[in-house]
Symmetry: C2
Subunit: 166 residues, 2 copies
Amino acid sequence: MKSKTSFFVSLILLGLPIITSGADIKQSHDINYPNGWQKWASIAVSHRTDNNTIRIILGNDVAVEAARVGRVNPWPDGAILGKVVWKDIQLDNWEEAIVPGQFVHAEFMLKDSKKYSKTYGWGWARWVGQDQKPFNKGAQVCISCHTPVKDRDWVFTDPAQFPNIK
Amino acid sequence: MKSKTSFFVSLILLGLPIITSGADIKQSHDINYPNGWQKWASIAVSHRTDNNTIRIILGNDVAVEAARVGRVNPWPDGAILGKVVWKDIQLDNWEEAIVPGQFVHAEFMLKDSKKYSKTYGWGWARWVGQDQKPFNKGAQVCISCHTPVKDRDWVFTDPAQFPNIK
């Protein structure tokens, strides 16, 4: 009988991607992995020229609905914001276009004003790299960086304008 | 009985946004408005430093599934790619972050190798501004710009790497 390792090696030789279940991913700051975020709708985008990363800011349904109507200070309980971060690179066929290179991490803010009252109403979580290794150095690391926007419910993102089309 | 105009004026005075139905929006290059694109998942992002715009590239389910597994040359029939374009601005609270300012337009490529065989397998459409005015200057305008990537099925976008998590 084949070992699990040789099974995965076979998959790699076949060129099939190894797909991990979100249920197998460990918690970050006692927060469960937010399965399905790769299909969430967009709220904004940013290109950070100080650390050469490019980002999509996305959200679960509660967050996206709030973003579209500007109900963001405070954000409603149940909102989850995700920030997906890549190193920035130039596009081969259009050098003036800066686009995603290596995937860095996905980080999340989960709004629950009661559950997370000790961390300003938000749960703070991050999973690093393609294998989504949980970040567990403490929410204070996240909060410190977000302190300049404490009067904006701790969120840097201004939701992008979308046309009002149903 | 109130007129339609005074009804809308009342809505504005009440501070309610006017929401247009996608069904009311006219065709661009004989293509119907792709309702619901604001909730589509992301495929990539780009910051164009030559015309100071920042973009999210999103897709319908067919396009996103193809993008995630790299089945993009050719893209499958049924795929719709959307490019949502904003002028770029600096974020107030983090000046090194370039983020979306004024909404410019949303443009789409619809893959159907038979229906659109005369325009390289793609339908080309664009709707401009918050009121989504259809662009109807001819698909050739779009195609000319995309000619450098004709060997990449006419698509500039490299799908961003996402973690393989289900």
